[in-house]
C-alpha cells in the first residue's frame, strides 16, 4: 500500500484489520523482513505511521468520535541521551557586535527552550542579560525568514549555491572590483579568517562594517593613544570609588560582567562592613540604571561633559607636570561651562584618596577629548584597568556610501544588520542601496534592507548554526547549533567560505580549523566547556602617549566649543532601546512587553524630557503635559494630618492609561513626531531618544510599535546632537506604562539607609513600618530562630493532607531506628538584596522564558493585564517632599516583586475551591486545574503578584482576544516549540503566579533521590537549585535555598540585620524577604544627604523623625501613635 493512504480518511480499526491487506500478509509471511525498502509499498516509515494511526484509533474505540486526529510517531531509533522530560544542556554563545556572550542552552527533545549564562565564563558568572534570554524567542518567531528569494522568485538551496558560486567567480574575474560587503561587526575569528582570505583573493573588494550602536569610541581613542587596537577592561571588583561620566556601564556590551563586579563591591554582610562599600558618582544626561545605583548623581548635558571632565582633570592631574599646551587646551574646555565647583573638587578629592582603587568611566558617545582626558585621569589614579589588544577595526559604512555615490559598486552584499533602517540619516542609505546594480541581503528576517535588496538570503538563527566568537575579554567561545535549521536558511560562515572559494565550506569544519589555528587542542572539551580557557586578548603595557593625548584633546572642536542649551536649543541624546536594543529585537514579544526599568514603558519608546523642560513647554506652548488636578489638596492641614497626601504622577493618566502628548521634534531640518514622556533625573535641556523602534518592515509583533528616531541621527552626531526644537501638538498617544505611580508615598516598602547610619544603627530596617510598633508577628515565639520558625510554626492552612516524609511510615517496623534516613522536608525561601539589584530586568525575561509566561500585547498592557510573574517596581524619591511638583533630581529604588510565598498566605485563605494551597516545603502552590477564577486571591494579595488569564493568551493571537469563538483558536506550532514542557501552559480563566520554579525544585529532588540511592540522603545540597530569576541575576541579588538549614546561603542572607519582610505587619509571614538597601554618600559633597530620600520621606510622614521635622502642628497627631523606635 502507499503511504498516501494515510492522508485520507481511511483508517484501520486494528492491526488485524490491516493484516487482511495483501501487502501486509506478504510482509508477514517473509521470514526475515530485513529492510523496509525491500517491500512493495510498505516501507519502514509508512509502517510506523500505520502503527501509530491504528493505535490511535484503537485508543478511541469508536470510529467517528471527533477527537483531534494526531499521528504520533515515536522515535524509531531512540537517540542516545535523549529522555523526554529530561533537558539536555549545550554550551554555545550569543553573537554580538563587539563580543559573544557565552551561554548554556536548555533543550528538550531537541528544542531549545531556555537560555542561561555559562558559569565557566567567570566574568559573567552564569548570568545573562534580558536580551540574551529573549534571543531564544527569535528562533521561534513566526515572522522570521524561512526561505531565500531573488525578487519574488524562491531560491532553492541549489540555486542559492549556484548564485554564490556565480558571485565568487565574478569577483575572481575582476579581483573584487565593484564588489562590496557591508557586514555587522563580529568578534568571530572564523569570520575574520574568511574575510582575510576574501581580501587576499579579491584585493579590490570593499569590506566594511556597521552597526548603529557599536559603542567603540573609547577603542578608537585607545588605538590612537596606544598605537595599537586596544580595549579597556576595567577591573571593577577592585574599585572603591567609581566616577561614571554618562557611562551606563551596568548595561551594554560588557554590562553583565561589570554589573557583577560592581555588585561585588557593594555587598555588605553586616554593619561592620558597611563602610567598606564602594561609592559611585554618576554624571548623567539621561537617567540610567547606573545612575539609579549612584550615591551621588549630577545631571549634565552630554555637551557639558567635556567641561566637567576637564575641570575634574585639573583637580586630579598633576598640573605642574603637564605639557603647558595640553593644560591650556584642557583649561579652554573647562572654561566652556560653569559647573558646581565643589561637586567637582570633592569628587576629585575622594577619587584621589583612593588611588589605585578609583576609576573614571566615560560614555562611548562622548567626544575623543573626553575619552582621552579620562585615560589620563585613570593613569593618574592608577585605576584598575587592563588595556588589551583587539583585532583592528574595519572600515565603516561611510566608505561604502561614498563608493555607492560614485557608482563604483556593482554588487553589494549586506551581511546582517539593517542599514536601510538604521544607517545615519545623512547617508540617505535607502536611495544609495538602490544605486548598486545588485544588492544581496543576508539576514534572519525580512526587514527594511531586505525590502530594497534584489536578492534575499535567509540566515539561520545562531541556535541553528555553527560558529565561534570571542567574549568581551577575548576568550574564544563556540557557537554550536541546538537544532537543525527549522527552515531553509543559510549560515554566514558557509556563505563567506563559498564566496572565498574555500575547499572547506561547512561551518563545523571551519570553526574546528579556526580552533586548531588558535592553538586549541581538545575541540570536544571546547564545546562542552563552552570556552577555551586562557584565550583572552593579550594585555598591553604601553603607557598612553602624551603627545597623542594633546593632539586628541586639542583637535576636539566639539569639546572646546561652549554650548548653551535652552528650550529653543535642545540637545538630543540617542540611546539603545530597552525593548529592541538598536531595532534587532523589534519582533521579540518578550522584550517588547518587558518594561523599561526606568520608564516602565512597554511596547513603545518615547521622547524622554526633563520636568523643567516639560514645565517650560507647557507654559510657552499652552499644551498640558502634567496632570492638572491634584488628587488631594496638599495645602490642607487635614490631609497632612491624615497622611493622605499624594505625590502627583509625572505623566497624565486617563483611566489608567498614560496620555502622552505628541510632539514634533525638529533638528537640522528633519522632523519626527513622537510622544513625550516626562522623566525625572534628566539633564534639563537634553532630550533622550531611544532608538530601535518604529520599524516599518517587521513582523506582527513589532508592527506599529514606537517611533523611529533614526531619521534624526546623522554621522556627525551618532551619540548626541545639538540644536533641536520641540513643538507640542494637541494629539495624545496612550503609552502602556506598567507602573503609574512613581512615589513610594513615604511607605516603608523599599527600606534604605546610608552606609554610615547603618554602621551606627544596624537594625534600622526592622525599625521601620507598621510592624515596628505593632504586636510581634510570632507573638511569644518572635525570638526563635528562623529555622525553628519555618519548621515548627503554624503555617499553610492547607486542606490537603501531605504525606509526611519526615518519619517512617507508622506500620513499617523495618525502618525503626533508621529515622535519620528521613530528614526533614526542606523549606524553601528566598532573600533579595536590594543593595545589589540594578533593575536590569534580566530576571523578568528569564522568568517569562522558564515559566511559559505569555505576552499580552500593548492593548492589554494598557488595561493592566500584563502577565509577568516577576516585576521590578521602580520608585523615585526626591529630596524635597512636595507633592505638587515633579522632582528634577531623584533617587531611584528598585524592588523585584514576585509571589512572596507567605506562610500565612492571604490568598489561600480566601480561595473557595482550594486551588491555592500550601505544601510541606513552605511553597504557596497553585493547582491550575482546580482554579475556577474567582480572582479573590489576587484581590487579597498584598503584593499584587497574582496574574489572571483574562483571555486564552496562549491560544489566541495578539489583537484577536476579543473575537471569542469567532477568532482562530490555536497556537502556531513554532511558538509551541519554545514552551518549557515541565511547566503547565495555563488556559484562560485561571490564576497564575511565581512558583519559586517548583519544576526546578522537583527536578533536583528527583535527581537527589537517584543519587541518594539506598543511603536515603535526599537532602538537596545548598546551591543545587537556582530559580530562573536567580540564575539570570548578574548582581547575585537573589539567594534561594533551604531556610531550615542554618548554613544555607539564603539563611545566611536572612540572618542579616538588614533583612525585613515587605508589609511584615500583616503577619502573612512571607518566605521571600528583602535586604535593605544602602547608599554611600560622601558627607563632604554639596549634595550630601544624611538619609536616602526614601528614608527621610518615610521618617517625615510615618516615622518618629527628628524634632526639627515636626514643625507642622498637624503631623504630631499621627506620630503620637508611634512609640519611639
Amino acid at each position: 500500500m502507499d503511504s498516501k493512504d494515510l492522508s485520507g480518511p481511511r483508517y484501520w480499526k486494528s492491526l488485524d484489520d490491516l493484516s487482511e491487506t495483501p501487502a501486509f500478509k506478504e510482509w508477514v509471511e517473509r521470514e526475515f523482513p530485513a529492510g523496509a525498502s525491500e517491500l512493495n509499498g510498505v516501507n519502514r516509515r509508512s509502517f510506523m505511521k500505520v502503527m501509530a494511526a491504528s493505535f490511535g484509533l484503537a485508543g478511541l474505540g469508536v470510529a467517528g468520535c471527533r477527537r483531534p486526529e494526531q499521528v504520533i510517531l515515536p522515535y524509531s531509533k531512540q537517540p542516545e541521551n535523549v529522555i523526554p522530560g529530561i533537558p539536555v544542556y549545550y554550551t554555545t554563545a550569543q553573537p554580538g557586535n563587539r563580543s559573544h556572550t557565552p551561554i548554556i542552552v536548555e533543550t528538550h527533545t531537541g528544542r531549545p527552550t531556555k537560555i542561561e549564562g555559562n558559569p565557566s565564563y567567570v566574568a559573567n558568572g552564569g548570568a545573562t542579560s534580558g536580551f540574551t534570554q529573549a534571543s531564544l524567542l527569535d528562533l521561534y518567531d513566526p515572522d522570521r525568514a524561512t526561505k531565500s528569494f531573488t525578487g519574488t522568485q524562491r531560491l532553492s538551496k541549489e540555486k542559492l549555491l549556484d548564485f554564490i558560486a556565480q558571485l565568487a567567480s565574478e569577483a575572481k574575474q575582476n579581483g573584487g572590483q565593484g564588489f562590496a560587503v557591508l557586514a555587522e561587526p563580529s568578534s568571530s575569528p572564523s569570520r575574520m579568517r574568511l574575510v582575510e582570505s576574501l581580501k587576499a583573493q579579491y584585493p579590490s573588494m570593499i569590506w566594511a562594517e556597521y552597526s548603529p550602536l557599536h559603542d567603540a569610541a573609547s577603542e578608537q581613542v585607545l588605538t590612537e593613544l596606544l598605537d595599537q587596537p586596544a580595549r579597556a577592561l576595567p577591573r571593577l571588583a577592585e574599585t572603591k570609588r567609581i566616577l561614571s561620566i554618562d557611562a551606563d556601564f551596568l548595561t551594554g556590551d560588557n554590562g553583565i560582567a561589570q554589573s557583577r563586579a560592581f555588585a561585588s563591591t557593594r555587598k555588605v554582610k553586616d554593619s561592620k562592613e558597611a563602610k567598606q562599600m564602594s561609592r559611585l558618582y554618576a554624571v548623567e544626561s539621561s537617567l540610567t540604571q547606573t545612575g539609579s545605583m549612584a550615591d551621588h548623581r549630577l545631571r549634565l548635558s552630554c555637551s557639558q561633559m567635556a567641561a566637567f571632565i576637564a575641570q575634574l582633570s585639573l583637580e586630579i592631574l598633576d598640573v605642574a607636570a603637564l605639557n603647558p599646551e595640553l593644560l591650556a587646551s584642557i583649561r579652554k574646555i573647562a572654561a566652556t561651562q560653569e559647573l558646581d565647583g565643589r561637586w567637582v573638587s570633592e569628587c576629585a578629592a575622594d577619587l584621589l584618596a583612593y588611588k589605585g582603587q578609583a576609576i573614571v568611566l566615560v560614555g562611548e558617545h562622548l567626544s575623543p577629548a573626553v575619552q582621552s582626558i579620562a585615560v589620563a585621569i585613570n593613569q593618574q589614579l592608577a585605576a584598575p584597568i587592563d588595556y588589551v589588544e583587539i583585532p583592528a577595526a574595519e572600515a565603516g559604512i561611510e566608505l561604502i556610501a561614498q563608493k555607492l555615490k560614485t557608482k563604483q559598486i556593482d554588487t553589494l552584499l549586506i551581511l546582517g544588520g539593517n542599514p536601510a533602517y538604521d544607517a545615519p540619516a545623512d547617508l540617505n542609505w535607502s536611495q544609495l542601496q538602490a544605486t548598486a546594480k545588485r544588492s544581496v541581503y543576508f539576514g534572519g528576517a525580512h526587514n527594511e534592507t531586505a525590502e530594497l535588496a534584489s536578492t534575499f538570503i535567509a540566515a539561520s538563527h545562531y541556535l541553528e548554526s555553527w560558529g565561534d566568537g570571542r567574549a568581551f575579554d577575548g576568550t574564544l567561545v563556540p557557537v554550536q547549533p541546538m537544532i537543525e535549521p527549522l527552515f531553509d536558511t543559510f549560515n554566514e560562515l558557509e556563505l563567506l567560505a563559498r564566496l572565498a572559494a574555500q575547499t572547506e565550506t561547512d561551518a563545523y569544519s571551519i570553526v574546528k580549523s579556526t580552533f586548531k589555528l588558535s592553538g586549541g587542542r581538545d575541540f570536544n572539551r571546547f564545546l562542552s566547556d563552552g570556552l577555551l580557557s586562557d584565550s583572552a586578548y593579550g594585555k598591553i603595557s604601553v603607557a598612553p602617549s602624551a603627545e597623542k593625548l594633546f593632539k586628541l584633546v586639542a583637535a576636539d572642536s566639539v569639546a572646546s566649543s561652549a554650548a548653551t542649551l535652552s528650550m529653543d536649543k535642545l540637545e538630543l541624546r540617542f540611546t539603545a532601546n530597552a525593548h529592541s536594543y538598536d531595532g534587532r529585537y523589534a519582533n521579540n514579544g518578550w522584550m517588547m512587553e518587558c518594561p523599561d526599568s526606568i520608564t516602565q514603558l512597554t511596547w513603545d519608546n518615547a521622547i524622554l524630557i526633563s520636568p523643567r523642560l516639560a514645565k517650560e513647554l507647557e507654559q510657552t506652548q499652552g499644551v498640558q503635559i502634567f496632570p492638572s488636578k491634584k488628587p488631594m489638596n496638599k495645602d490642607s492641614a487635614f490631609f497632612e494630618a491624615a497622611k493622605g497626601t499624594l505625590q502627583t504622577n509625572t505623566a497624565k493618566f486617563k483611566r489608567g492609561k498614560e496620555q502622552a502628548v505628541v510632539a514634533k521634534l525638529t533638528v537640522a531640518g528633519k522632523q519626527i513626531e513622537a510622544p513625550i514622556h516626562v522623566l525625572p533625573g534628566l539633564a534639563n535641556y537634553t532630550l533622550v531618544l531611544p532608538l530601535g523602534m518604529g520599524r516599518t518592515v517587521v513582523g506582527r509583533v513589532g508592527k506599529g510599535v514606537g517611533f523611529n528616531a533614526y531619521p534624526l541621527r546623522t554621522s556627525q552626531g551618532l551619540g548626541y546632537c545639538l540644536g533641536a526644537t520641540i513643538q507640542l501638538t494637541e494629539k495624545v498617544y496612550p503609552l502602556a506604562n506598567t507602573q503609574e505611580h512613581w512615589s513610594m508615598e513615604g511607605r516603608a516598602i523599599v527600606r534604605e539607609s546610608t552606609a554610615s547610619y547603618y554602621s551606627k544603627k544596624s537594625d534600622f530596617a526592622t525599625q521601620m513600618g507598621v510592624e515596628s510598633h505593632a504586636p510581634a508577628n510570632y507573638g511569644k515565639d518572635k525570638d526563635k530562630t528562623l529555622q525553628e520558625k519555618v519548621t515548627n510554626q503554624y503555617r499553610g492552612n492547607s486542606a490537603y493532607k501531605h504525606p509526611s516524609f519526615t518519619k517512617p511510615a507508622p506500620n513499617v517496623k523495618v525502618w525503626e531506628g533508621h529515622e535519620d534516613k528521613f530528614p526533614d522536608v526542606q523549606q524553601w525561601g528566598m532573600a533579595i538584596d536590594l543593595n545589589s539589584c540594578t533593575g536590569c530586568n534580566a530576571c523578568v525575561v528569564a522568568c517569562q522564558s522558564e515559566n511559559n509566561v505569555p505576552i499580552v500585547g500593548k492593548d492589554q498592557v494598557l488595561r493592566g493585564r500584563e502577565m509577568h510573574w516577576l516585576r521590578i517596581d521602580r520608585y523615585f524619591s526626591a529630596e524635597k517632599y512636595d507633592q505638587s511638583e515633579i522632582p528634577e533630581d531623584v533617587q531611584v529604588s528598585f524592588m523585584g516583586m514576585m509571589c512572596q510565598h507567605c506562610e500565612n498566605a492571604p490568598c489561600e485563605q480566601v480561595c473557595p475551591v482550594n486551588a491555592t494551597v500550601h505544601d510541606s516545603q513552605g511553597l504557596n502552590t497553585m493547582a491550575y486545574n482546580r482554579c475556577v477564577g474567582t480572582r479573590y486571591c489576587a484581590n487579597n494579595c498584598p503584593y499584587k503578584v497574582r496574574r489572571f488569564n483574562f483571555f486564552d493568551w496562549n491560544k489566541r493571537q495578539i489583537g484577536e482576544f476579543y473575537k471569542g469563538p469567532l477568532g482562530p483558536v490555536d497556537e502556531p506550532e513554532l511558538q509551541k516549540m519554545q514552551k518549557n514542557p515541565n511547566v503547565t501552559v495555563r488556559m484562560r480563566g485561571v490564576m497564575e503566579k511565581c512558583t519559586f520554579c517548583t519544576q526546578r525544585i522537583e527536578a533536583a529532588k528527583i535527581e537527589q533521590k537517584r543519587l541518594a540511592g539506598a543511603s536515603g540522603d535526599i537532602k538537596i545540597p545548598d546551591g543545587k537549585i537556582k530559580t530562573a530569576c536567580q540564575q539570570a541575576c548578574a548582581a547575585d541579588a537573589i539567594s534561594f535555598g533551604d531556610v531550615s538549614d542554618v548554613n544555607s546561603e539564603v539563611s545566611q542572607a536572612k540572618a542579616s540585620d538588614r533583612d525585613y519582610s515587605v508589609l511584615g505587619y500583616l503577619n502573612a509571614r512571607p518566605r521571600t524577604t528583602y535586604l535593605a538597601r544602602l547608599r554611600n554618600p560622601n558627607p563632604k559633597m554639596p549634595d550630601a544627604y544624611k538619609y536616602p530620600y526614601a528614608y527621610s520621606q518615610y521618617k517625615k510622614r510615618y516615622g518618629s523623625a527628628a524634632p526639627s521635622q515636626h514643625s507642622k502642628g498637624a503631623s504630631h497627631v499621627h506620630d503620637a501613635a508611634h512609640p519611639a523606635h
Partner: protein, 499 residues
C-alpha cells in the same frame, strides 16, 4: 379645635391646665382608607390578575425583554471569550460584577425584613407591601446570583463551589467567605421563595375559587371565549399551587403557625446574608475592606436600599392600579422613616470609618479612606455620600414624605447611591492598596455596563409576570388590618382601624 375627653379622676387643677394647653389628638391614619369593605379589597387585588392585561403592561414587557437581552448577549460573549471582555485588570480584579451582586442582594433585603421582622413585630402596615417586596427579593436574588456565577474565569466549573463529593476528594475551602456566600445566598433564596409561596397559598385559593365561580355561573355561554380559557387555566394552575386550600379553620391555624415559623427562620437570614456578603470584604487584608464595622453597616445599607427599591416599585404601582386606599400615606411615611433611620446609620458608618482609620494609626488604612473620598474616585464617593446621607435626611419633613413624586425620585437616588457605595468599597480599595507600584484605575467596558443594565430588564420581566399572574397583596392579611376585622373596634368610625 379638637375635643378632649377628660378623665374624671383628674384633679381640677390639672384638668384646667389640660384645657388650657389643648393637647392635640394624635391621629393614626388608617391602613385601609375610604371605609372600604372586604369585598372591595378582594376585587381590587384579584382583578389585577383577572382583567384584561393593560397596554402599558405589554409595552413594559417588550421593553423589559429587550433590555434583558443585553444581559444574555453580554454573558454569552463573556463565557465564549473570557473575563477580559469586562474592564477588570490587575489590581482591580473585582469590578462591576461584584458591585452589582452586592447591590442586588442588598435590594433583596427589604422583602424579608418586611415579611419576617415586621411580622414578628406585629407591624400591621407591612401587609399591603409585603407580597411585592418579597417578590422583589426573589427577583433581586436571581439578578444578584448571575454575577458571582459568571464573574469566575471558568464558569463551567462553578459547581466546584458546592460541596459535592467527588473522586478527587477535594472539598470546597470552607474558610473562604466566598464559600460562605454560596451557602448564605442559596439559603436566603430558598427561604425567601418558600416564605413567599407559603404566604400566597390562601390568595391562590381565592383566585382559584373565583375562576371556578365564574365558570359555574355560566357567564361565558357557548363557544370558545378567551376569558373562559383563562379561567379554566386558572382553575387548574392556581388549584395545583393552592394545594387544596379550603379556607378551613385548621388550614388557617396551620398556615399561621407555618408562617410564624418561616418568619422566625427568615429573621436571622436578614442579618446573616448581608453580614456574610460583607465578610467577602471584611475578612480580607486589604485596607478599606478589612474593617469590623462592615457587617452592621452592610445590613443597614441593605435595608436602606431595599426600602428604597420598594418605594421605587410601589409608588408607580399605586398610581397605575389605583391602590391609594391600600398603600396609604401612612405606608409611605413608615417606609420613608425606615429609609431615614437606616440611611443615618449608613452615614454614621461612613464617618466612623474615617475615625477608625485615623485612630488606627495605620498609614495604609488612613490613606485608603482619604483616597476614597478625595482620590481619583472622589466623584463616586461624592455620589454615594450625597445620595445616601443627605437624601434621606429630607425625610424628616412631612411635606417631603407627603409628596409622592418627590419620594419616588428620592428613592431612585437611594438606589443609585447604594450602587455607588458598593462601587466605592470594591473599587477604590483595590485600585490603591499597599504598594503604590501596582496602583491602577478601573473603568468598565460596554459589556460590563450592558450586562448590568440588562439585569434591570430581567428584574422587570420577572416583576411584570408577577403582577400579571399573582396577587400583588396578601388579601387575607390586608383584611386583618381593616377596621371591619376588629369586632371591638370603632365600627362606622371613618378613622378606620387602629393597629
Amino acid at each position: 379645635m379638637a375635643t378632649t375627653s377628660q378623665d374624671p379622676s383628674l384633679d381640677p387643677a390639672q384638668a384646667a391646665l389640660l384645657a388650657r394647653v389643648e393637647p392635640a389628638v394624635l391621629e393614626e391614619q388608617a391602613l385601609v382608607t375610604n371605609n372600604r369593605d372586604f369585598n372591595w379589597v378582594t376585587n381590587k387585588i384579584c382583578r389585577i390578575v383577572e382583567t384584561e392585561t393593560p397596554l402599558w403592561w405589554w409595552v413594559c414587557m417588550a421593553v423589559a425583554l429587550a433590555t434583558a437581552a443585553f444581559t444574555g448577549i453580554g454573558l454569552l460573549w463573556l463565557v465564549s471569550t473570557g473575563v477580559g471582555v469586562w474592564g477588570l485588570a490587575n489590581p482591580i480584579n473585582w469590578g462591576w460584577a461584584i458591585v452589582n451582586f452586592v447591590f442586588w442582594i442588598g435590594i433583596g433585603h427589604a422583602g424579608t425584613l418586611i415579611s419576617a421582622v415586621l411580622c414578628l413585630l406585629k407591624q400591621g402596615w407591612r401587609t399591603s407591601i409585603n407580597r411585592a417586596a418579597e417578590a422583589m427579593t426573589i427577583f433581586a436574588v436571581v439578578c444578584a446570583g448571575i454575577f458571582p456565577l459568571f464573574h469566575v474565569g471558568r464558569v463551567w466549573f462553578a459547581w466546584w463551589l458546592f460541596p459535592i463529593p467527588n473522586a478527587n476528594g477535594i472539598w470546597p475551602q470552607f474558610r473562604s467567605p466566598l464559600e460562605w456566600d454560596v451557602f448564605a445566598v442559596s439559603t436566603y433564596g430558598t427561604v425567601s421563595v418558600l416564605f413567599w409561596y407559603m404566604g400566597m397559598i390562601p390568595d391562590l385559593g381565592v383566585l382559584r375559587d373565583r375562576a371556578v365561580q365564574r365558570l359555574k355561573a355560566g357567564l361565558y355561554g357557548k363557544g370558545f371565549s378567551m376569558q373562559q380559557a383563562m379561567d379554566v387555566f386558572r382553575k387548574y394552575l392556581y388549584g395545583i399551587f393552592a394545594m387544596g386550600w379550603r379556607n378551613a379553620g385548621n388550614h388557617w391555624r396551620n398556615y399561621e403557625m407555618a408562617y410564624l415559623i418561616l418568619a422566625g427562620l427568615s429573621t436571622p437570614l436578614v442579618l446573616s446574608v448581608h453580614t456574610i456578603v460583607s465578610f467577602d470584604f471584611a475578612l480580607s487584608v486589604l485596607p478599606g475592606w478589612h474593617t469590623t464595622i462592615f457587617p452592621p453597616y452592610f445590613v443597614a445599607g441593605a435595608i436602606f436600599s431595599g426600602f428604597g427599591m420598594v418605594l421605587t416599585l410601589m409608588l408607580p404601582l399605586r398610581a397605575l392600579y389605583g391602590l391609594h386606599d391600600l398603600i396609604t400615606q401612612r405606608h409611605i411615611d413608615n417606609m420613608c422613616k425606615i429609609c431615614l433611620g437606616t440611611g443615618s446609620i449608613v452615614g454614621y458608618a461612613y464617618i466612623m470609618e474615617f475615625f477608625i482609620a485615623w485612630y488606627g494609626a495605620n498609614p495604609y488604612e488612613s490613606y485608603a479612606f482619604i483616597n476614597r473620598a478625595f482620590g481619583q474616585y472622589w466623584w463616586a464617593y461624592l455620589m454615594m455620600f450625597s445620595c445616601n446621607v443627605f437624601t434621606p435626611q429630607l425625610f424628616w419633613f412631612k411635606k417631603v414624605r407627603e409628596n409622592a413624586a418627590l419620594v419616588w425620585v428620592m428613592s431612585i437616588f437611594i438606589n443609585v447611591g447604594m450602587w455607588f457605595e458598593r462601587f466605592v468599597i470594591t473599587v477604590t480599595s483595590l485600585a490603591n492598596d499597599f504598594l503604590p507600584s501596582s496602583w491602577g484605575y478601573y473603568s468598565p467596558t460596554i459589556v460590563d455596563i450592558m450586562t448590568f443594565f440588562g439585569t434591570f430588564g430581567l428584574f422587570s420581566v420577572l416583576f411584570l409576570l408577577f403582577l400579571k399572574f399573582l396577587p400583588l397583596m396578601p388579601i387575607a392579611e390586608v383584611k386583618f388590618v381593616m377596621p371591619a376585622a376588629d369586632p371591638h373596634g370603632a365600627h362606622g368610625d371613618d378613622k378606620g382601624g387602629k393597629h
